[in-house]
């Protein structure tokens, strides 16, 4: 079955709001997670990553939270801007010993002005 997935296929927010995009994973042995952003017609772009020895990691306007107890990952975007409109994928290692990734289904974030 699918290892990585997302709760909602779409999320619509107003400019300036905070956005939360969720992801559930099934492999309790996973130790590395990544969020990617994909704009229309482009390849995935790295946003932020987190290792399983952390619960939270912050970047510029983004925060990733990891709850290993319930195998849940979330991406929080502060003060969402129209340029944040894209599809967001969570990903984890395809094999724990390797470097390839398995992606979830994606959440389309739409930001209106």
């Amino acid at each position: 079955g699918e290892s990585v997935g997302l709760h909602l296929p779409t999320l619509s927010v107003q400019e300036g709001d905070n956005s939360i995009i969720n992801c559930a994973y099934s492999n309790s042995a996973s130790d590395y997670f990544i969020w990617y952003k994909q704009e229309s017609g482009k390849g995935p772009q790295f946003i932020i990553d987190i290792r399983s020895n952390m619960d939270k990691r912050q970047g510029q306007r983004v925060t990733v939270l990891l709850n290993k107890t319930v195998k849940h990952l979330s991406l929080q975007i502060a003060a969402t801007q129209p340029g944040d409109s894209a599809v967001y994928f969570c990903a984890e290692k395809y094999n724990q010993a390797g470097t390839a990734l398995i992606f979830g289904k994606g959440t389309t974030l739409s930001v209106s002005s």
Binding site: Q38, K42, G43, P44, Q45, F46, Y94, T99, F103, K105
Partner: protein
């Protein structure tokens, strides 16, 4: 800023024909990957390449597919005898020791 480049951006081919998709990874990267994305779906892993050999591959990457690093800069994906269901965006990616950087993709249309 260094980037992964892919050519062509769009390839149309007839069913049964062979195609070669080309990629130039970032120059100091060590790991190279091919992924594909069928329209409207998630990104799927095909194969990873390290130290001049395949290091991981998915069940999608069957005998129809092959990869090659013919010189010090190019990384290619060959699809033999294309099928209609091979139509997708194919992304090349590379990494050094952490995040993978993706190219803009090649849209393959099999007719």
């Amino acid at each position: 800023e260094p980037e992964v480049t892919q050519t062509p951006s769009h390839q149309v081919t007839q069913m049964g024909q062979e195609v070669i998709l080309r990629c130039v990874p970032i120059s100091n990267h060590l790991y190279f990957y091919w992924y594909r994305q069928i329209l409207g779906q998630k990104v799927e892993f095909l194969v990873s390449f390290y130290n001049n050999e395949i290091s991981e591959k998915s069940e999608i990457f069957d005998d129809q597919f092959s990869v090659e690093r013919p010189d010090g800069s190019n990384f290619t994906l060959k699809i033999r005898s294309t099928k209609l269901e091979d139509s997708a965006m194919y992304f090349c990616a590379s990494s050094r020791d952490g995040e993978a950087f993706f190219g803009q993709g090649t849209r393959l249309t099999v007719v």
